[in-house]
């Protein structure tokens, strides 16, 4: 995984910008300068080859030429060749052209290393993420505390099996199901529909084969989920606020609220 540290990435970006600026400012002079530098480099490179190696290669070339001549006419030539071999013995494992290395294979980096083309932009968890999490936790704690100071949890009278309150309501998150009970057989409303809902949620990642996570590519799925959630929200709101005694439909502003959290 290629992850370029933030400060190195920034430094590279700055250097690149500087180079671009220099090229822009240099204008016509730059290519000439570069060419000159290139020439200098070439001569430098030639001069960097050690003198004794240059000597040896020259000797070898001469020997080859001399050897060819010698084979043609003079018996004294092998002796000369022999002395040359003795003075400069080739390395034991040389290849056909006197190379000491051989290229066995070329392995492209991608096949053995996980190389990502684009570096991931990352920040340190401390302090960037931890501070956000701490503030969020503190805000929720504060909200819960203040809400708990001003609003008391309900505690009605002792449970009494002989007195059924009217209406009897489930906890709010099940009121959508209780609302469905008014329309369907209990098995459909209480088991089949919620069961299928959970099952559909579990299967969602395996049914949705669209690889994109961009909202513009997922219009159908997003509208489907929105409809699904709005359906639940509306059922829960109706069950919570628009159902009165006998679970009959009422308007909360006209008949009051029959709802406890």
């Amino acid at each position: 995984m290629t992850e370029i540290p933030e400060h190195l990435r920034k430094r590279a970006e700055e250097a690149r910008k500087k180079a671009e600026a220099a090229r822009g400012a240099g204008g016509d002079d730059a290519p000439a300068g570069e060419a000159a530098a290139g020439d200098a480099g070439d001569t430098d490179a030639e001069s960097k080859i050690p003198a004794h190696l240059l000597e040896r290669s020259r000797a070898a070339k001469e020997r080859a030429a001399g050897g060819a001549v010698a084979a043609a006419d003079a018996p004294a030539a092998p002796a000369a060749g022999g002395t040359a071999v003795a003075t400069a013995p080739p390395p034991a494992a040389t290849g056909p052209d006197g190379h000491t290395q051989r290229l066995l294979t070329v392995v492209k980096s991608g096949s053995i290393q996980d190389v990502r083309a684009t570096p991931v932009d990352k920040v340190h968890t401390w302090p960037h993420l931890l501070v956000v999490e701490f503030v969020a936790a503190l805000a929720v704690l504060g909200f819960t505390l203040i809400f708990a100071i001003f609003v008391n949890a309900p505690l009605l009278t002792l449970a009494n099996f002989n007195q059924t309150p009217n209406p009897s309501k489930a906890p709010w998150y099940f009121l959508g199901l209780q609302e469905l009970l008014t329309m369907f057989h209990p098995m459909v409303a209480g088991v089949t529909i919620p069961g299928m809902g959970i099952f559909a949620l579990i299967l969602a990642p395996y049914l949705d084969r669209n690889p994109s996570n961009k909202p513009e590519d997922r219009k159908f799925v997003i509208s489907l989920m929105t409809v699904f959630m709005m359906f639940w929200a509306v059922l829960v709101i109706i069950g919570s606020f628009f159902r009165g005694p006998g679970f009959n439909f009422i308007f909360p502003w006209a008949d009051g609220i029959f709802f406890d959290l």
Partner: protein, 259 residues
Amino acid sequence: MAKSVQDKPKITEKLSELGDTVQGSQAWNSIFRPGSVFRKGYTDSPRNRSYVIMNSVLYHLHPVKVKRHAVKVSYTLCLGGLSFFLFILLTVTGIFLMFFYRPDSASAWNDIQSLHTSVTFGLLVRNMHRWGAHLMVLSVFLHMARVFYHGAYKPPREFNWVIGVILLTLTLLLSFTGYLLPWDQLALWAVTVGTNMMGYTPVFGNQVRFALLGGTEIGAETLLRWYVLHVLLLPFVIVIFMAIHFWRVRKDGGISGPL
């Protein structure tokens, strides 16, 4: 007067000396590992920023570095983390409540009543437990919606979504089992409505209902059974699933996105 003014710098000097001694002690340095912000001479450097996570228990939860967009509040709205925080809050307040509550139909309601009237902060802690529970159901649900709208359930995160759905179900069950415990009219009849629906499960509906209620109707056995489910079994199960959930978030390459 003059003397006390002269004394002041001495006291601050002594305090800072004491701080140095404590921070330099073997005990202190055995508790806070290298790079900890509580160690002596902590400086803000990339190396120390890494150590804060890497050398502490936080490394079980967070990597040393996260994607830049993951830090933006507008991307996650902190909903998953807040669900976890609410779970911790509910555990703490719940343990407090356990000291004053007996899961027995004869005493449950009276215990809540005396919690309100004669236990210091009893009513406040009970309120926090109740509102925190409703808030957790809401935040888990919103977290699911956020993840769905970001397409974060797509490969390689499919299985973590499945665990998330299980966690949502467990959250609802935790809330529902806790609903019965005050043993008032609201609790009794809300649970009656809920469990009546369960009875309609095809094939083994009546057996499920019997096992959950500890009888054919809600009674004292139901209270004990749901109490154990609420304070022991379901928290145990949900903690295991949460551990897998958080671990998978990191193994699947951190949080999803950017869009």
